[in-house]
């Protein structure tokens, strides 16, 4: 094994990389678009849901409910009330989607409130949309509780309160998503710079030019993977900083934090490029990496916990996460970006990623064909 041959190959890749900014741009645009669109699409609180109000009671208490619901509109703004005179008309509009829920004050509502006889409001909801009906239910629940307390003296003893203690300040979804976007940037570099150009170069015959020189298979594999890892590290760090600014992550100027982030990105980028290399080492058809891209992307990104905690996944998907380099990358980056600085929260991820890289590289060297 000769270092100068590895470095010659590394030099070739880096020169090509810096010559054309396309790869860098492409590898950044996809993750940033994803970060912004997913971050704002899923991260926002639900607002301005049109809800029908049907007052069959016409009593004083129903008017009070109406006023409180309206206050919800001017306050948190979850709902916007629309008055309907009959329940069937409201339900018809619910079915065609003009309103997303119907609140009904039954004819005996005021009477029952006055006599403390189990007064009830009715919420008719469109249960095909769990997110909206969930938001409506919880808003209404809160409101009904507020309603009860001053008006009705509860016969029950004071209930035990659940005290919630948050360890970290409230995290916006876009910040939660950022580690996944950084991992995605490194993956795109591995996919394009590793998978696609590797096979394009092979089919253009460029490899034949190297294979007639005394370079060893292992040197070729290491040179290509090293260059790929450095490219991935650069893309990862750019997204860390740019994405961090967009998402409003604080403490990015801390050099120690940046150093740890770079360490995680370097190891993760090596894992991804070597994974890509092993996948593509025996492929000759330039169509293959392009076709595999989407599948691999979905298979690695979504089960990794990048956009949703893996505790919410079925067992088989959690099993993918265990062998998914994205999972460890996202976990380590999330720790460094949102929680703390230090080796304690990331050493396990680093060990697993380094082990995976070593395995993929060994496999890649073993599978690489030195001859045509």
């Amino acid at each position: 094994m000769k270092l100068y041959r590895i470095s010659a190959l590394f030099e070739r890749d880096m020169r090509k990389f810096f010559r054309s900014p396309t790869l860098m741009m492409v590898s950044m645009i996809f993750p940033l678009v994803q970060l912004i669109v997913l971050g704002y699409a899923f991260g926002g609180k639900i607002r301005g849901v049109r809800v029908a109000f049907v007052d069959n009671d016409h009593g004083a208490e129903a008017v009070r409910v109406r006023a409180m619901l309206d206050a919800v509109r001017t306050g948190p703004g979850v709902i916007r009330l629309v008055d309907y005179s009959t329940l069937p008309a409201a339900v018809r509009d619910l079915k065609i989607g003009l309103v997303r829920g119907v609140i009904l004050a039954p004819y005996d509502f005021s009477y029952r409130v006055e006599h403390q006889d189990n007064p009830r409001l009715v919420l008719v909801e469109d249960n095909t949309d769990r997110t909206i009906s969930g938001a409506l239910e919880s808003t209404l629940q809160t409101m009904v509780q507020q309603f009860d307390v001053p008006a009705v003296t509860s016969p029950l003893p004071a209930q035990t309160q659940l005290d919630v203690v948050e360890v970290y300040p409230y995290i916006e979804y876009i910040k939660y998503l950022l580690p996944g976007s950084i991992a995605m940037a490194m993956f795109v570099v591995a996919m394009i710079g590793g998978g696609i150009t590797f096979i394009d170069d092979k089919s253009r015959g460029l490899h034949e030019g190297y294979l007639v020189t005394p370079i060893e298979g292992a040197e070729l594999v290491l040179g290509l993977n090293l260059a790929g890892a450095i490219k991935g590290l650069m893309a990862g760090m750019v997204i860390t900083v740019v994405g961090g600014l967009i998402a409003g992550v604080s403490g990015l100027a801390n050099p120690l934090r940046l150093a740890y982030l770079a360490l995680v990105c370097a190891v993760a980028a090596l894992t991804m490029i070597s994974l890509m290399f092993v996948t593509m080492v025996r492929v000759d058809d330039p169509m293959v990496p392009r076709a595999v891209f989407g599948v691999l992307n979905t298979l690695l990104f979504f089960p990794s916990g990048a956009i949703y905690p893996i505790q919410g996944f079925p067992k088989w998907m959690q099993a993918i996460a265990v062998v998914d380099p994205f999972y460890y990358t996202v976990h380590a980056l999330r720790y460094l970006l949102l929680k703390g600085v230090g080796i304690a929260g990331i050493y396990h991820d680093l060990l697993v990623l380094a082990g995976m890289s070593a395995g993929f590289l060994a496999l890649g060297i073993g599978l690489f064909k030195r001859q045509l």
Partner: protein, 326 residues
């Protein structure tokens, strides 16, 4: 010691034998040509010699080293210009050369001296810093020849160095190859399917067809070895049934070969044969539509040894385009 020794080298792809027990030696400082049509097995043979593909059987030595047992010593001793263009279009000419030299461990001082020297030798000194993407096919080919020389090899393998080049670029490349051979004391093994190229450039020629070696000698001896010094080609109307037999009895004629509508006569003395032919035609009332006489070319040699015409072979379109770049 011979520069290249090939002994019963064979390559099979499944049942198909692409190179069939070929043996020859190439002397030091010789320009040796492998001449054959598309699919003859030239590239496969070169790929075995340049350690790109393992032989099925047989042995070969390049610069005294066994191609199977000492592949790295073979790689160090030779420069290779494969049939496909293998320079990197996204790098400059300079980068292509120096990165290639680094793979051989050529020291920096030597690299810096060699790059301008070789760029000048192939007539590209003005394009040292240009991206190879902007080069024409001929420029790229010349750059790749320079690249193959960056580690000062003693043996150069060129697979179809002039295919796809215009006539001017082709003769430029020929001159360049000649000069490099002289100045750098190189041994050169090249493949071609151009008769004129083999004739002008090569000291010796091996005719290869269907993976077999059909003939091997200097161009002039190959031409002398086939019957006749001249070729008379003629077309007739109203030829009688025994016409070819009658032609064979004409003065000087050594052999007769009908060939799509016309007839080729190998003759020891072309002009006399023509005179006799004209008399015979008049006597038998046959119309002579066209007649020509030419001295024997490698085309005729190829036809003689393979029973096929190289030009026809090339035009046949039996081999896919992709194959050309394999």
């Amino acid at each position: 010691m011979s520069a290249v020794e090939v002994d019963h080298l064979t390559k099979q792809f499944g049942d198909f034998t692409a190179v069939d027990a070929i043996s020859f030696t190439v002397a030091q400082n010789e320009i040796f040509g492998l001449l054959g049509p598309n699919g003859a097995g030239k590239t496969t043979l070169i790929r075995m010699l340049t350690t790109l593909t393992p032989p099925t059987s047989g042995t070969a030595h390049v610069a005294g080293c066994d191609i199977v047992r000492e592949p790295n010593r073979v790689r160090e001793s030779m420069g290779v210009i494969p049939q496909a263009l293998t320079s990197d279009p996204e790098l400059t000419a300079e980068e292509n050369l120096s990165i290639h030299a680094k793979l051989y461990g050529v020291p920096a001082a030597e690299r810096e001296a060699l790059v301008p020297e070789l760029m000048a030798a192939v007539g590209l000194e003005k394009f040292r810093w240009a991206l190879v993407r902007t080069f024409s096919g001929g420029m790229r080919r010349r750059l790749e020849i320079a690249r193959g020389l960056m580690h000062s090899p003693k043996i150069l393998f060129l697979d179809e160095p002039t295919s796809g080049l215009d006539p001017v670029s082709r003769s430029n490349v020929w001159e360049m190859i000649e000069r490099l051979r002289r100045e750098k004391n190189l041994t050169i093994l090249l493949t071609t399917h151009y008769m004129d190229e083999a004739d002008k450039l090569c000291d010796r020629i091996a005719i290869v067809d269907h993976g077999r070696l059909k003939a091997l000698d200097t161009p002039s001896r190959l031409k002398a070895s086939i019957p006749g010094n001249d070729v008379v080609e003629a077309e007739f109307d109203r030829a009688p049934a025994d016409w070819t037999a009658e032609l064979a009895r004409l003065e000087g004629v050594r052999s007769v070969q009908p060939r799509d509508g016309s007839i080729r006569l190998s003759s020891a003395e072309g002009p006399r044969t023509i005179a006799a032919l004209v008399e015979l035609v008049r006597a038998r009332g046959v119309t002579l539509r066209r007649v020509s006489v030419a001295s024997t070319t490698l085309d005729d040699v190829f036809l003689h040894f393979t029973g096929r015409d190289l030009r026809d072979e090339l035009g046949e379109g039996r081999y896919s385009v992709g194959h050309l770049y394999r």
